[in-house]
Every structure is written in C-alpha cells, then in structure tokens.
Symmetry: D3
Subunit: 226 residues, 6 copies
Amino acid sequence: MKITIKLSGHILFPAMDTLPQIKDYATVIRELVKKGDHVSVVVGGGAPARYYIQLARREGADEATCDHIGITIANLNAKIFSQALGDVACPFVPMDFDELEKAKVSGKVIVMGGLQPGQSTNAVACILAEKMRSELLINTTTVDGVYSSDPKRDQDARRLETVTVGELSKILASMGVKAGEYALLDPVALRIIQRSRITTKIIDGRDPLNILRACTGEKIGTTIIS
Amino acid sequence: MKITIKLSGHILFPAMDTLPQIKDYATVIRELVKKGDHVSVVVGGGAPARYYIQLARREGADEATCDHIGITIANLNAKIFSQALGDVACPFVPMDFDELEKAKVSGKVIVMGGLQPGQSTNAVACILAEKMRSELLINTTTVDGVYSSDPKRDQDARRLETVTVGELSKILASMGVKAGEYALLDPVALRIIQRSRITTKIIDGRDPLNILRACTGEKIGTTIIS
Amino acid sequence: MKITIKLSGHILFPAMDTLPQIKDYATVIRELVKKGDHVSVVVGGGAPARYYIQLARREGADEATCDHIGITIANLNAKIFSQALGDVACPFVPMDFDELEKAKVSGKVIVMGGLQPGQSTNAVACILAEKMRSELLINTTTVDGVYSSDPKRDQDARRLETVTVGELSKILASMGVKAGEYALLDPVALRIIQRSRITTKIIDGRDPLNILRACTGEKIGTTIIS
Amino acid sequence: MKITIKLSGHILFPAMDTLPQIKDYATVIRELVKKGDHVSVVVGGGAPARYYIQLARREGADEATCDHIGITIANLNAKIFSQALGDVACPFVPMDFDELEKAKVSGKVIVMGGLQPGQSTNAVACILAEKMRSELLINTTTVDGVYSSDPKRDQDARRLETVTVGELSKILASMGVKAGEYALLDPVALRIIQRSRITTKIIDGRDPLNILRACTGEKIGTTIIS
Amino acid sequence: MKITIKLSGHILFPAMDTLPQIKDYATVIRELVKKGDHVSVVVGGGAPARYYIQLARREGADEATCDHIGITIANLNAKIFSQALGDVACPFVPMDFDELEKAKVSGKVIVMGGLQPGQSTNAVACILAEKMRSELLINTTTVDGVYSSDPKRDQDARRLETVTVGELSKILASMGVKAGEYALLDPVALRIIQRSRITTKIIDGRDPLNILRACTGEKIGTTIIS
Amino acid sequence: MKITIKLSGHILFPAMDTLPQIKDYATVIRELVKKGDHVSVVVGGGAPARYYIQLARREGADEATCDHIGITIANLNAKIFSQALGDVACPFVPMDFDELEKAKVSGKVIVMGGLQPGQSTNAVACILAEKMRSELLINTTTVDGVYSSDPKRDQDARRLETVTVGELSKILASMGVKAGEYALLDPVALRIIQRSRITTKIIDGRDPLNILRACTGEKIGTTIIS
C-alpha cells in the first residue's frame, strides 16, 4: 500500500533541553517498508522551529521569512529522521517540487520537511500524498482523534470513528477555530484530501506503534472520508 | 508607499483564441513607480493555466502536479508582464523564496507567478506583500468588492466599504463557500493578511485605472482591515 | 535498440482551441519500451509556444527571450507527455545538460523540450540522441519524407528513400531555404547527425503508428545516411 | 552605445605551453566602459578547450559531452577574463539564460563563455547581443574581414567593406563550406544577426586596438548588414 | 576599510534554553557601515549546531553529514543575524562560492555561515576575507588574545600583542594541540592568512564593543602578522 | 569492500603538452567494481589546474578565486575520468555535498573533483570516504610511502609500513612542513581520517596496478592507522 505519514514536529522534537527520541518512529517506518508498503514521510518543525521563529521575529524578520526559517528547520529534522531510517531512505531531502520528482527516481522512502512560506507541514504531507498517489495519509497528533465537539468544554463530546471533510470543517468552525488556524488540519490540507480522495487517519502519534496499527487497518483514531 | 498588486489571471489572460491586452496594466504600474511607489506584482495563470491543467489531468497527472503545471504558466505570464514593464522590472521572475531574496537586490519591480502546489496565487501575493513589507495589497477581481451577502440571491446585499478579516470569513462561510474554495481570498491569504496587518483592497480589476484609484486612496472596492 | 524520437509540436499541440490528442503517441512509446527498446523523446512547442512568443514579441521582448519563452512551453509539453507515458517515464523533465546527466540515472524514458535560445527542438533531439548514443533518430513531420525538389512546384519531384547529409543540404539550398530557416532539419541538426553518424528517419508523424513502422525497419519516409 | 564583443578563444588562448596575454584586451574593454559604452563579452575556448575535447573524445565521450566540456573551458576562460577586467565586470559568469537575466541586475560588463552543446560561442555572442539589445556586435577573427572569394585560391579575391547576410551565406556556400562548419559565423549566428538586425563587424582581433577602432566607427574589417 | 568579522557561534548562540542576545553585535556592524567601512560577516553554529550534530551522530549519521548539518545551522544563524542587521545586509545568505559572487552584486554586508564539510567557520571567514580583499580579519573568541603558553598551566604565560603565523603555529603545537583541533584558528585558516597576508586580530568577543575597538586600531587582543 | 581512491592530479594530468594516459587507471577501477568492491574516486587538478591558477593570479584574482578555478579543473578532470570509466560511473560529477547525496542514488562509481576554496582534493577524498562509509582510503602519490625522516637528507630514513595519525603529524612537523602545506596529507585530511577511523594507505600511484595491490591487502606503501 502507498502510505504518507506526517510525523508531528511537536511529538518528535518536543523540547530543546534534551535530545529527542526518534528511533522508535524510524523502526516503525522500516517495518512498514519490510512489509512491502511504499512509504513517504513529512516531519514537522517542533520546538527548534519555534525557537528560531521566535528569535527571527524578535530581530525584525517579516512573517514570510519566519515561515521560511521554520521550513529550514523542518527540512533539517527530515534530514535527521532520514539518517535514523538508514538505507531505506532516499539519500537527500527534497526541498521543492522539482527535487521531489528527482527523489522519486530513488524508489526509496522520501522524507520531507516544508516547502514554501504560508504552507503548513500538514499541507506538505497532503501534497506529498498526492504526488506519491498514496492511498492512505496518516496524521500524527497529540490527541486520539477528532471529537464531535470540544472535549474540554463539552462532557458529551465523543470521538468520531469516521468523519467527512464537510463535517470536519463544520466541527472545526463550531469550535471557533479561526480561518487558517486549525491545529489539526488546515483548510489547504482539507481541500487536497477532498480533491484527491485520500483516506486520512488522525491518530495519537505519541505512541509510535499507533502508526503501525493505523496502517494495518486497526480501528484507531478518526478516519476522514472524502 | 510599498504596494503589492495581484493581477488576476482571469482578467489578464482571459482566453486562448486572442492575444491578451496587458499594456494598460503595465502602464499603470509604471505610473506608480514614477510617482515613487515601491511596487511588486503577482500575475495569475488564467486561461492558459486552465488549458494545461485540464490537459494534464486528462493524461493522468496527480493534482499536485496539475498545480505545479499551473504555476509554470503563472510564472510565464509573470515573465510576459515583466517584458511589458520594460526597464522598471527586475530582469528575472523569482520562482522560489530564495530567488525572491535575490530579486530584492535589483531594487526594481518584482513580478512573480506561483510558488508551490497547494498554494493559490492570491496566497503568493500575500507572502510577497509580507516579504516586501508592503503597506497595501490590491487584489483585482471581476467584482467591485465584497458584499454583505450573495448579491445574486439577496436583493438587500450591499457592497461593504470596509470589512474585518473575521467578518469576511463569516460572510464567506454564510455563502456556503467550502474550505479552500473561496474564490476571492483563500484562508491562507486571510491568515497572512491578519498576521501581518496588511491593508488589503478588493477591487474590480477589469478597468486598469481602478488600480491607480485604489493606490491614491480613492474610495473604491472593499478594504479589508486586519 | 536505442532510439530518440522528435515529436513535432505542430502535430501534438496543433491549436489552442481544443485539447490535443497525445494518448496514441504515448501508447506507441510504451510499446517500444515493452519491446525492449531504449527510447528518449523530445517534444516541440507547437501552437502554445507560438501564442506566447507572439505575445512576448508584441510586449517588446527581445528575440532571445522569445526563444526562451518558447523553450519553457516545449518543456511544459514534455512534462505533459511524460504524464501520459506514466511509469515508464523519468519523473522529471531535464532542462539543461547537467539535469540530462542526472536523468540518465533513472534508466527510464527521458522526455525533453528545449535547452537554450538559438537552438531548435530538432537540434535538441540530435543532442539527446548523441548523449543517449542512440542508433536511430526519428523526426516526425507533416510531410512523408524528403523530396528531390519542391513537390509544390516541380511535378517530377519524387520522395527519396535515402539521402546523404550532403545531398540533403544541397536540396534544401536549391529550394531557396535560407540559412537557419530549414523547416525540416536545421544546419545544427545536420552537423550533429553527420558528426555522430546517427541514422535519421524523416517520417510523416501525423499517424502515430508510423513511428512504430519506422522503428521496426519498415520502409517509410526518408532515411538520412551520414 | 551597446556593444557585444566576441573574443576569439584561438586568439586569447592560443596554446598550452605559455600563459596567454589577455591584459591588452581587458584594457580595451575598460576603455570602452570609461567612454560610456555598455559592453558585454563572450570568450571562446581556444587551445585548452581543444585539449580537453580531444582527451574526452579519446576516452569515449559522446560528441554532446565533448561540446559540454568545451563549454566548461570557455566559461573558465570567461572567468579569467572577468578577473582581468576587475571591478567593471559582473562578479559571476552567467552559465545559462536564467543566470544571464540575474547578471543584468549588476549593471556591469557581463562576460560569458558557452551555453549548451550544439551551439558555437559565436552563436552565444549573438544571443547575448540580442538579450542586451546591442546595436553593434564585434567578432574578432584571425583574418581582416570577409573576402569576395577564397583569397588563398583566387587572386582577384578582395575584402568586402560591407556584405548582407544573404550575400555572406552565398559566399560561404561557394567556398564549399559545409553546413554547420562555417569558421567565421555559423548559420545560427547568421540567422540571429538577421532576425534582430544587429550590425556586425568581422575584424582582425590579433591587434586588440582593432576592437577600439571598430567601436569608434573607423573603417576596418567587414560590416555585415542585416 | 575592508573588514571581515567572524562572530563566534559560541558567543552569539551560547545555549538552547534562552533566546540569544545579538542586537548589540548588529548595532556594532551597522556603526562600522555608517563610518564607511566595507564589512562582511561569518557567523558560527554555536549551541544549536552542537544540538543537531549530537542528534545526527546518535542516529548514525557519518561525520561528513554531521558537518553538513552544522553548516545548515550556521547558515540559519547567519540568516537570523542578517535580519538583525536590516537594510544594510545583503538580502540572502550565500551558501556556496558561486552565490558569494552573486552576493557581491548587492554591495551590502554579506553574512555567511559555512560552506562544505571538513571546513570550520573560521576557515570560511578567511576565504570570505580573501574574496572581499579585506585588509582586516577580526576573529572573536572567549579569550582576550593569544598567550605565549597555556595560561592555565604556566604562571609566566603572557598575552602577545603581535605574533607571526609561524610563531602561532609553534605555540599551538607546544600546547599539544592536535592537528585540526586548534580551537583558535585551524591550519587551513592559518594558511589562508599567510598566503593572502590578511592582518588578523584575535579578540575577546564577549563584549561587542571590542569589535569596534579592534577596527579603530585600539590595542586589543593579539594581532597576527603574516 | 567500500573503497575511496584519491587519484593524484600530478600523476594523471602531469603536463599540458601531451594528452594524459588515464585508461589504465580506469581499467583498475572497473576491475575492482567487477570484484564487487564499492568504489568512489576523487581526481586532482594536476598541470591544467596549475596553468589556470597561475593565469588567474597573474590577472589579479584573489587566492580564494584561484582555488575555485583549480576546483573547476579538478571537476573537469573527474568528468573526463568518469567518461573513461564508462557505464560503471555515475553519469554526473557531484560538485557539492547536496549533489553527492543525489549521486548516491545511482549506486555507481562516484567520481568527484573539488568542493570549495580552502580545501585540498585530499580533504575532499576524506569527506567522500566518510560519506560513502569507506573502510579503505587509498591516496596515490609520487613516493612509495611515508618515511621516518626526510630521505633526501637522512640516510637512515626508512619507509614505515604503518604509522598512526599522531606519529605522522610529528614526522611532518619535524620535516619543517609548515601548517597547511603538507604535500602528502593536509591537517584537515588527517583530522577526518582520525575522527572516522578510516584505514588509509599512502602508495606510489605512478603504477596503476599498485592500487589493485593495495586493495587486495598486499603490503605496499604506508598504512595510516587511526
């Protein structure tokens, strides 16, 4: 199966004071490859990106440049993760769409970070899924799926097993999420999922084994149906 | 004043059977430059982009690649427009953020098309406005501004002179515009306008002189206040 | 066998008002690949290139820039054609000689457009044939071969089965073709065919099956012997 | 005046056993700049290019790769010459058309070598002249101009003060010069001179002062009229 | 005066838990520019580079890749510093020698990080000094100069006002500094200082004003004479 | 076995007046490949590099630019050598670290020249050895190994079969070799050999068969133990 996996920068690179633990995530990806899956990965920026963006902003950088700096760190995180993958990974991290096409020649696990300012790494994961014609997109988060309403405020909130893109948009809107600030999946990501009918699973990525579970069809998290 | 102008591909390149009339738009830009404004321009893909995207899709291209092909045409349109501008234009069309930084060295009018898949040329205009620290962003459309409700359905719909980003989001949502399909301004664009507090004017771009009017402070179209 | 095929832009992209039919050409290339041939392809600019060049010239572009714009379109056509080829095609269109060397790593069908101003896509096909060490170069045109004299003026004109580069030069000169304006094959192309002794067939490319016929040795068109 | 000058590799880099004398040529260019002319320069490959091409061919390189190797040397010669020019030269040698557009930003003397296989440095000089909109193209050779017939065979051969592109083509053809082997100016160069109506002077470049003479309108060499 | 300044990564980016204070260093550079000096800057990798290198190494990266990762961070630090410089800085950070030549076109303060694996940012500063033809190279460290012997072990150690490259090599060797591990200046840096006779000052960079003092000829730190 | 081989430019390209004999070296590399070794190669600049550097320096180039020009020639020599290798070679010469990662995708013999100013091709060979995780690095020279002291001055000087990096540093220092001028292996190279524990053999490369001997474990030259 063709699978694209978004590894949350917040999970993989949570803080600056200790070195992150990414080995188990690499092990999971290698296992999928061994099983015959055709995997591609996007890694977010996490704490180091926040550190540099905060610094750049304080020194007077415009927001587009701040985005660009965050992308540089996401690409570096991708580089680190591809090292952890070892020989199954494409030896370079494609940094634009032309390089992505060149990376496809390798036939190996492509690991990417970001592309251009104004675009979240979630959106990049969707673009990568399109380009690789992935049937499954797994988005790792720090929650265990999408809820019918905000669980922090509403006792009756329940985790949804499946949700359509339309329903998800409404839920996010009802929670008062502002345009372009959806933590889970931004509107660009939703639009791409819709247009290319990519089955997308939102899972709790804090346990790396959840990725394996989601790929083998175990009922976990929330599945977005397009 | 620092101004970024989004020239609609639909207006400048409306059809494939006749050569487009872009001279008057170039004249307006040159006039602004002569007045001392620091102008940058984004040109959309228009009919040629639709032609190639339709063709690519029919030949089996994935949607991300279709986007990329549309971007190539938008960049080509930008190249054509920079020729029409002549000596006041930066001699090359920056195709990514790194090249944009190099283009700034020229001190001339930077003309861009698109950047990466998943991103509208409206979003690119916002990113360019951020990078150039523009105080004013002019978005040319085929309507004369933002309406309180859909004028095709609601007789009481009236054009708004000003609107906040929040109000605009609500209006678009109430019109049933789906996530990522806002014709006027997509959510990425709205988020950037918000975060960098760029005064943005939605004007009818079919008359090139409206651009001049908007730049000189004439009351025209709708102004988005962040 | 190693074969380079020049697909005429005029044949593949004849007009702007309808989407071109390129599927049958892609089918022929895939068939050759299935048979074990090592194929590379150059696609011309056709009607969209003429559209943009005409536009650029009207807006004051110099002729070298016009050429460059035509090359951009030829590259885009090559991109579209590689999409139609699907998995047998190299995932990217090499845009200069360095990229061509990188494309060779893929071991797949390389599809190119143009290279640099001043160079016809016929010349690019010859350079590609040299680089790939092709034994056969097929040049598709809208005529069924080379004639002993201009068939429009001379009733006794007959199609030649074979012709040497020297004879062809004389025929073209006798027809009053000016330097650098040979529709069929320009002088650069002729020089390359000569220096690398590439067997070249001029065939009527309006029927895609003629390409197959020429590759399997059927007597068709005119063969240039170096 | 806008002037493009082709400096012959054979004249500037005549042999491998002694270091070439290029200072006087640099002095001439600097003098033109001081006078207010807008100068651009193309330098050929000369003896070092022949050395490396001969070597590459012996080691089995295809002819397109041999061309590419010759271009690398021409670019290196251009780099050396730009060092000799000092501060009046653009600090980098543009190696493709995109870089040429970036070099224009510098406003300084652009020095180029070659572009792509299949293209002589004479053709590159014509493309550069087009791009820079030069009114005058000076081509340095080891003869003092174009003759009515081959002076080695015909006692009545006389140097022509002016010649049209059409006449020049005929003269070259009558001398039995084969397609693509014109030492003086190849057909691509002739076509460009024609299409962009660039006044071109063929002069004896062995005396660097002849360049100054040609630029100041002194009657020297042969002028090609388009 | 032409001055190249190496800003120590250890000083500018000392730790990961707090945002660094780089404003005062930017102020000093801007002051030099205002005085008419032609300044270029190299910024080291500091704590973030160590963080990422340590991480890469733990994930199995080879040492050359670790170097490359450190260079990416040094380039990012340079980007941040150029933001702090504002308009006096070249808008992009040159990442290789070709880009450095393009950056020279800007005429602004060039800020660089690293170049290629195996090369310290000290060596990069020396190369930049050569390329910019700087008369003075200032190397900021956490000591107040070069000592006649190791001050930690030898009570009689005294700070040298001047030292030759040869003497410095001997002192470093006598301290048991191993090949390629000179903290102060590595052998590549020493060789470049020697070959291009660049006056080099080793100063305590913890006080940004020391940079101003060194530039105005105040007796501070140790001057290496070549 | 993974082996990196540094081919001396002085041996392969000894002079400008005759074409070099490199076939036998290519034969040796192909033989190693046939045996199953995973080989990568660095080629030095030799006489052509010295020619161009001397010329550049005379025309006023700074030393960093001179280095860069030497690197261009080393890359060209690498290109020539890869032609001699034929199909076992990666079709392009990686010119920076990013391209090196792309070249790894080919799985073929990577042939490199230089990287950036300030770095010897010996250092590049060490970096390549690190990147390819080579177990053996062979450095061809014009001497038959490392001597205990300078054999030209000391009758008792004897060739060492093995030497540690530390001992080698001391020997070189005792011979009065100045910082950064070690002909055999510069300090950067020594540091990399040390840090990555690459077994390195210094052999007389004038006989190409010595390379085969060194690879098959024959006692030849001097082995540096880290």
